[in-house]
Amino acid sequence: MGCCFSCKDDGSNQGGEANERTHLLVDPVSNNTTIQRVSSEDYSSCARSLPKKTDEQSALNQILQETATNVIDVAALDSHVLEQHEYHERVKHYAQKLQSGSRWTVPRRTPCLLLDVPAPEKFLSAEPLSVGNLDLITSAVSKANAALQELKVEHKEDLVVPFRIP
């Protein structure tokens, strides 16, 4: 009676049942050790059960690493100077690799508007266009031009329409 905190009945009334003494959250440390022991081979479950502190640390490390890679530090740039013999070795290696490769074919050119003509004299010595055809082309073009000039927009409806807003 009047006892606010007593550990005496801890052992007697446990029996796996939940009471006011039962932890709502499972103890992370003890829980982890058991899980790690049980599934030590399984990496994923192990990673999931890492203590909170390590999680935080790794997250911080990740942030640090990301920041470091995103920083442009010109002074810290190290120019990898290639040794002379290393350079020659690599050149030789690439040449060998290319030689050993299969035969390479020149890519086909995309069709061009202007093409080379093999026998230009044939085209140049061809019959010129007849006067009748030339007249026909000229008149057709001038008619088309005149038609284009006369093209007008016919105004039928009002362009600005008032909406019936109440």
Partner: protein, 124 residues
């Protein structure tokens, strides 16, 4: 295979007025294939000069403007156009009066070579 590739690149070299050299190198500036004429400045073909591009490309990618694609350097007598095709880098060395747009337009024409060249670099 190298001969046909060189022949093709030589044709491209002749196509642009003022273009002196076409180089395809790895990221350290070691040439995998190159065609050049006698006007090419020797200094511009050194790995110490060419390898700076890969570094610049790595750092330039951090500017938040996307992946680094092309670098154009105009000097008083030359211009150098470098195209990022990492692990390969295409370098075009030309006179300062050459048409830069034409140089950039050569990139898709060099493209068909790259898969084979990448294979040579990748296995090393």
């Amino acid at each position: 295979m190298t001969e046909e590739m060189k022949k093709y690149l030589h044709q491209l070299l002749m196509r642009v007025d003022g273009l002196y050299c076409i180089l395809v190198t790895d990221r350290d500036g070691v040439p995998v294939i190159k065609v050049a004429n006698e006007k090419t400045p020797e200094l511009a073909m050194r790995p110490s000069f060419l390898s700076t591009f890969a570094m610049a490309a790595d750092q330039g990618g951090k500017l938040g403007l996307g992946k680094h694609k092309t670098l154009i350097c105009m000097y008083s007598t030359y211009q150098v156009v470098q195209v990022n095709r990492l692990p390969l880098v295409i370098t075009l060395i030309a006179s300062e009066t050459a048409n830069t747009g034409l140089l950039l337009a050569l990139e898709p024409l060099v493209e068909p070579l790259l898969s084979d060249l990448r294979g040579a670099v990748g296995e090393s």
